[in-house]
């Protein structure tokens, strides 16, 4: 008898399935708009020049070894990452904010969720964006939370974030709920609140004693300027909230597969922070003992070396500019084609993704009939577009919108 004879076949993760279908497609015009990884104008993966440079240095440096990192990770990495998120916020100088190195953004969210489940009442409600990144819900569920509820975010009518509904949902939620925010370049919609809207959100979070946790997967990648992209984080931190920030270096360093992330916790006092981090350390120990060194070493070297840091800022600007260009090109093409509907949201949105507003049938048509692989919720990865395929894609979208209602 097998111990696992009754294990059921689970459905594949949608985004990985989309990539697999893409790879199997033989149409030379096929476009992959699924995975959130940057592509250059030739549609190729792009290793940031500054990353290549540092990796060469590391490979040649015989003084480096493969010893274990501390459980909380490479200290100079955590410090630099925390500073990248919070800038000159006084919580840093007051030792009330510090990071624990994690397995990229997912690992940061999971560590946060595991820790919060240990410290909050089990019935605490976790509010997540509707829509949100597919993994958010699972992460908090697996950590043990039972009460998960969406807050309103995307409005199909205005093709933007409906912040007044967002605010009223936070007001309606039980006091001391956990609110999961996207700090910039909302995934999947690409629509972010304005500074004034963030202020409204902060007020309701304070009034309701909610706990804010920020998923920060695109700092610098969104606008091309890491400080600009950290505005929401820093304003919350300066306002004195206890909060968490889940940082990923997958996109802004192109270190997708090195699993480099950081969980920043901000507390009221330095002593509370020490206690909190000691508990986070126990969770890490039981999950994977200590984090992988390679990615952290690269990021740490870049952030802590002024010349390399400047070079990195150039590199992300280059990525961000290309994405911006593609947004403008796509919008102008659709407007030129007279494609029914408004297309200003394509350029209003920011970051890796655009929520096109295409419906599932239109998406399926694009995927099945035109080899344009996008998620069925209408999300496209802007990085998948380039000067060679943008005409074809605009035509296909035009066709889909006209043909299928």
């Amino acid at each position: 008898m097998s111990f696992f004879g009754n294990v059921q076949l689970a459905p594949p993760v949608a985004v990985f399935k989309l990539s697999a279908d893409f790879r199997a497609d033989e149409n030379p015009k096929k476009i992959n708009l699924g995975v959130g990884a940057y592509r250059d104008d030739d549609g190729k993966p792009w290793v940031l020049p500054v990353v290549s440079k540092v990796e060469k240095q590391i490979a040649l440096d015989s003084s480096l070894n493969h010893e274990y990192l501390p459980i909380k990770g490479l200290p100079e990495f955590c410090d630099a990452a925390t500073k990248l998120a919070l800038g000159e916020s006084k919580c840093v100088s007051e030792d009330r904010a510090a990071g624990v190195q994690t397995l990229s953004g997912t690992g940061a969210l999971r560590l946060a969720a595991d820790f919060l489940f240990q410290t909050f009442p089990a019935e605490t409600t976790v509010l997540y964006s509707n829509p949100t990144w597919g993994n958010h819900l699972d992460i908090f569920k697996r950590a043990g939370f039972k009460n998960l509820a969406p807050y309103s975010y995307w409005s199909g009518d205005i093709k933007a974030a409906d912040v007044s509904k967002f605010v009223s949902d936070l007001e309606a939620a039980p006091d001391r709920s956990i609110i999961l925010f996207h700090s910039c370049a909302h995934n999947p919609t690409g629509a972010d609140p304005s500074a004034e809207q963030w202020e409204q959100l902060a007020q309701v979070v304070r009034a309701k004693n909610h706990f804010p946790i920020f998923d920060t997967a695109y700092q610098g990648f969104a606008s091309g300027n890491p400080d600009k992209d950290a505005a929401a984080l820093r304003s919350f931190a300066d306002a004195g909230f206890e909060m968490m920030i889940c940082q990923s270096f997958a996109k802004n360093f192109g270190l997708y597969n090195e699993r480099c992330g950081n969980l920043v916790t901000i507390t009221q006092t330095a002593q509370i922070l020490d206690n909190v981090r000691s508990q986070q350390e126990l969770i890490v120990r039981a999950n994977y003992s200590n984090p992988p060194a390679h990615g952290a070493r690269i990021v740490s070297t870049v952030l802590n070396t002024p010349e390399l840091n400047a070079e990195w800022r150039q590199n992300i600007k280059e990525m961000s500019d290309r994405i911006d260009l593609m947004r403008n090109e796509l919008r102008s093409r659709l407007e030129k084609l007279g494609t029914p509907g408004q297309w200003n949201h394509v350029t209003d949105q920011i970051g890796m993704f655009s929520f096109t507003g295409l419906n599932p049938d239109q998406c399926n048509f694009l995927k099945n009939e035109r080899s344009c692989y996008l998620m069925s919720n209408g999300r496209i990865s802007m990085a998948g577009l380039n000067s060679k395929n943008i005409d074809y894609f605009a035509q296909c979208v035009d066709e889909a919108v006209r043909k299928i209602q």
């Binding site: 097998s2 111990f3 696992f4 004879g5 009754n6 294990v7 059921q8 076949l9 459905p11 594949p12 993760v13 990985f16 990884a37 990353v51 060469k56 490979a59 070894n65 493969h66 010893e67 274990y68 459980i71 397995l103 953004g105 997912t106 690992g107 999971r110 993994n135 992460i139 569920k141 697996r142 001391r176 963030w198 902060a202 304070r206 400080d227 600009k228 505005a231 820093r234 304003s235 919350f236 306002a239 004195g240 206890e242 192109g254 597969n257 090195e258 699993r259 020490d274 206690n275 909190v276 000691s278 508990q279 126990l282 969770i283 039981a286 999950n287 994977y288 984090p291 992988p292 060194a293």
Partner: protein
Amino acid sequence: MRRTQRIVQNISRASSIWSDVPMGPPDAILGVSEAFKRCTDSNKMNLGVGAYRDDQGKPFVLPCVREAEAQIQAELVDHEYLGITGLPAFTQAAAKLAFADAGNVIADGRNVTTQAISGTGALRIGSAYLNAFSGGRTVFLPRPSWGNHNPIFTHGGNKIDNFAYYDKNTCGFDAAGCYDELRNKVPNGSVVVFHACAHNPTGVDPLPEQWKELSAICKEKDFLVFFDMAYQGFASGSVDQDAFAVRQFVDDGHNILLSQSFSKNMGLYGQRTGAFTVVCKDSEEAARVESQIKILIRPMYSNPPAHGARIASKILNDPNLNAQFSGDVKGMADRIISMRTQLKAGIESRGNPHNWDHITNQIGMFCFTGLSPEQVAKLTADHHVYLTKDGRISVAGISSKNVDYLANAIHEVTKMKFRAKIEKTTKIITFSQLAAVIAKLSNETILRLSKKKVYLIQSVSASEEGVLWCDIETKSLFTEYIYQGYVAPGFDEDEIILELSAADLCRALEFGNQEKVCPRDLKMKLSKEVVPGAKNQTKMANTGNPVLAFQIQFEQVKTGRKMVVSREIPIKVVSKKFWADYKEPLMPKFNMSIFMPTLSKVRVMVDKIKCLSKTVIVRANPEGTLQFRTKNAMQKISVNFHNLEKPVWEGEATPDEAEASVRIPTRLSNDLITALSQ
């Protein structure tokens, strides 16, 4: 436009969400490392961390790893996401490394192998998988096990328990206890965790035959077996030898779970490179299991880190690098094995009486020394050697430069210590007389020291006719009595047993004419022979030969002048395996008991009759008559003592018989009476 802007000014300081979060306990190993860092002694040693060090005590990057990294750097590699289950070239090679062709697992496509965040991450996926699909089976860990096993399985939501594994007395595998508990304590169908090789923390592995027995028991009991393989190749130097248990179980038809780490055997500690495997019934089941494992990994960390997996994959898949890897891993294992040999020899050469076979019998990174927490504390405090309280040392932390230092340190904290003092002249004299008695009876004498009593035992080997026992309450004789012995099997407390020449002891305690020179103070201690050093050395040299050293202070009765005399007698430490010979005999059953008449009278009489025969017959009756009698062909002579008192014995009285008699050699009767009448 989004700008940095103060959102809410001066949030009132509501109480922190986390004011009640307590400080978590510090990691034991980390504590050891930090104490080590603070220590400023130049001889300090860190034997806590389980990472390999070369003979210079430095972190070691395997040459095959350097080569693989150079090759990877030369290729144009990107940093795109790996799949949820990792780099296929790596996971396939890892499975092959573990199973080879055992059980046709790989050929039949029955293994689901996913990349994991090294061994811990692999165990953690296993833990989540068991929690989700094993139907609440309890996970049984060996006693003891790696400290992190408990949190990993508990954090995953499983109940845990344990089974016997390690035998404290032998510092070896407790086969009988282990079989018994697996058969009788662990419920059918439980999850049982084994360390595939180089058990952490004990370094104690079952023998191949014992693994086969374990496999049979696990089959019988329908256990789900989870192997933690963190040291493949690192233990014996051969990846195949170290995979014996895993392959045996799979060959025997067990569908095991397996966690693999490449931290130790490839030295990829910080790159978190590992794999988790479920062996399934068939490939159809494997597809279902794999789909569920992806669901578990995705909300943990989405997908694994590539760097280490790329290195390991290159090494395992490239024949040249693979060959180099075999040599590299053997080099590490050989150095560890050599350190074990040298450490054992170093301790033994100092005359340490403990058994240190387990140092070389154990295998892998760690050695469970068997040191007590007190001894560990002394090792750290006196010798700056840092290790965990359980007495585990990382053998990789030892080098040819400090192995002797460590051997000496371990010897110092485990060697026997004894120091005693008598401060009253009459008591010193009593002790001296005792020595004289013993010296008359035998050449070799046993000196047995325990907490409450000191025993002088006439050596069994010197006299076949009898054993003389003499015990002294330490409190009645000594004003100071400090010692550290050790506990032998069958003994309740720690003791010291020494062999020495009775004549030496007698001479050491000879005081001459006590009316002129009187001993006032006697100190004795276990020590080492000290001889004058070589020509240019002013220091005295230590030969290492154990001695019992005496320091006696005499006082000239007339002048009151004091002088100190030092005397040393060579001793031999009795091996623990012979200790049982010197356990106090129980009071033998006797037929008759009677007080002896004044011994000087007996001697006069017996002396007179003993020339008649080689034996003397001693007879007694319950009325209090004692008779010494000899006879030869011509005559019988007896000496009779009447109306002797009968002693009262503690506890159960043995009933006296009507009459009892014994025949003893004349020579011995003489010795006996002489000795007793001193």
